[in-house]
């Protein structure tokens, strides 16, 4: 059973069509939740860290929120350059990071 589950696996949007990506986790003792962006052929690039339920972070068209069992990455009016795979990772227990499988986002012009 996966400890970190991301949905949907893939998402296609039209430019300007807002949507949300989900990351749910079953680990106990969450220390932090991270969102990364990964472009093809590159390593993941840090976006946000969330530490406690109710916390929100924003950066340009992206907004990340955290509840007790899941996090959402909201994308407002996306542009083609937002196309990438978005990875969620949780830090728990002895600060061991566990990643989800990612959501592949394609934004069509």
């Amino acid at each position: 059973e996966d400890q970190v589950t991301q949905s949907p696996e893939a998402l296609r949007l039209q430019e300007g069509e807002s949507s949300s990506l989900n990351c749910s986790y079953t680990v106990s003792g969450l220390r932090g939740l991270f969102w990364y962006r990964q472009d093809p052929g590159k390593g993941p690039e840090f976006l946000f860290t969330l530490y406690s339920a109710g916390e929100e972070k924003e950066k340009e068209r992206l907004k990340a929120t955290l509840t007790k069992k899941e996090s959402f990455l909201h994308i407002t009016a996306p542009k083609p350059e937002d196309s990438a795979t978005y990875l969620c990772a949780v830090l728990w227990g002895s600060y061991i990071p566990t990643f989800g499988r990612g959501t592949s986002l394609i934004v069509h012009p």
Binding site: K42, G43, T49, S94, Y95, I96, P97, F99, G100
Partner: protein, 114 residues
């Protein structure tokens, strides 16, 4: 500030051969991670170092994989002998400390085992 450096960027080997990957973390970062990322999946932690000590290597296939971090700076990950299922991208990341610190990733090494 220079990022995490990895080499080589690409490697093609035959099964049962050995291969080594090198990582140079961001200067001053105490924690270093090696991940395996199979196509279409998220990164899976193989080993985590704090300075030159191992914090976690529970998912490292120790019969064929080994890693070291001499002097708490550079690190090397080795596979011997390689299997077809080892074909993946091997990512190195570093952070200031393990606890609640952002990980910065290198570009990865793409390994193809034929």
């Amino acid at each position: 500030e220079a990022g995490v450096a990895q080499s080589p960027r690409y490697k093609i080997i035959e099964k049962r051969q050995s291969v080594a990957f090198w990582c140079n973390p961001i200067s001053g970062h105490a924690t270093l991670y090696w991940y395996q990322q199979i196509l279409g999946q998220g990164p899976k932690l193989l080993i985590q170092f704090q300075n030159n000590g191992v914090v976690d290597d529970s998912q490292l296939p120790k019969d064929r994989f080994s890693a070291e971090r001499l002097k708490g700076v550079d690190s090397t990950l080795k596979i011997q002998p390689a299997k077809l299922e080892d074909s993946a991208v091997y990512l190195c990341a570093s952070s200031e400390l393990a606890s609640l610190r952002t990980q910065y990733f290198g570009p990865g090494t793409r390994l193809l085992v034929l």
